[in-house]
């Protein structure tokens, strides 16, 4: 499935909803769909806000594929060269820390299994891969610390 999206937040979410509908039709678990939707929202927003500077006249492409073993999302934009995979994960925030930066790519890393960046001619190509394997999905998230509750 190939989507041509304008560089606006509304178009990013149109892409996200299309992905969710497609993934549900493919029978993916809701937890996996949530993670894929979040990954596309974060990466699509990055393209719109930074690469294409919210210029609604500009477009970017999203390709969604589902194979036997993986769900693949590919984003392709004509913005300046930028490799989001080079971003460093933020450390846990301190009380007086400033506004979040780099949280988006951190979330994408946690909800996908592979992220690949390439510069293809004048285009950024970001490929997100989520292996469709429930046991692997559980393994990846089971050791997460629990949030504090009931102060």
């Amino acid at each position: 499935m190939t989507l041509e999206l304008h560089a606006t937040p509304a178009e990013v979410m149109r892409g996200v909803e299309t992905l969710q509908d497609f993934a549900r039709a493919q029978g993916l678990p809701e937890r996996t769909i949530f993670g894929l939707a979040l990954a596309l929202e974060e990466c699509g927003s990055n393209v719109v806000n930074h690469a294409l500077q919210r210029d609604a006249q500009k477009q970017f492409q999203v390709v969604i594929e589902h194979t036997h073993h993986a769900f693949v999302i590919e984003l392709r934009d004509g913005g300046p060269e930028f490799d989001p995979t080079a971003a460093v994960d933020r450390k846990p925030q301190a009380e007086d820390d400033d506004l979040p930066g780099g949280w988006g790519i951190q979330l994408v890393r946690r909800y996908t299994d592979e992220i690949h960046y390439a510069r293809d001619g004048n285009e950024n190509v970001l490929r997100l891969i989520k292996r469709v394997n429930p046991s692997a999905d559980e393994k990846k998230l089971k050791n997460e610390p629990k949030p504090s509750t009931g102060h």
Partner: protein, 132 residues
């Protein structure tokens, strides 16, 4: 994916200055600006406890997390105020866990847990210009 925003002042005198923001739907790159507008207007008043009820929030991205962080900082700047969260759905809670986000923000299972906390904590300073 729309976002419904319902802002309610707490009528309980024991919780004067507390405001609940109930979010239903998706807090994302498209809907976050509207929440920011409404939150800014809300926080122009004498609010010293901000409670986000997330029972109906099915999706949140870093665009939404940024607003929660803004709320936290504004509450802290008011001298002991606090932003709290109740009724998080599991997938939203998982995002918070991944980010290990928002230190200084309280996460409570439900309204009763929040009430128990508020009943035992010291009263924060009120917004400048208001009576204590």
């Amino acid at each position: 994916m729309p976002l419904s925003i319902q802002i309610q002042n707490n009528s309980n005198p024991a919780h004067a200055g507390a405001v609940t923001i109930k979010l239903i739907g998706s807090l994302d790159t498209e809907t976050a600006p509207e929440l920011e507008r409404q939150m800014t207007s809300c926080l122009a008043g004498p609010v010293n406890d901000l409670v986000f009820d997330l029972a109906g929030l099915s999706f949140v991205s870093s665009a939404g997390l940024r607003l929660f962080q803004v709320a936290r900082k504004q509450m802290v700047a008011r001298g002991g105020g606090r932003a709290s969260f109740i009724n998080m759905q599991p997938q939203v809670e998982e995002v918070f866990v991944i980010i290990q986000s928002l230190p200084g923000i309280g996460v409570f299972k439900d309204l009763e847990a929040l009430d128990r906390y508020l009943a035992t904590r010291p009263r924060p300073n009120l917004w400048p210009g208001t009576q204590k």
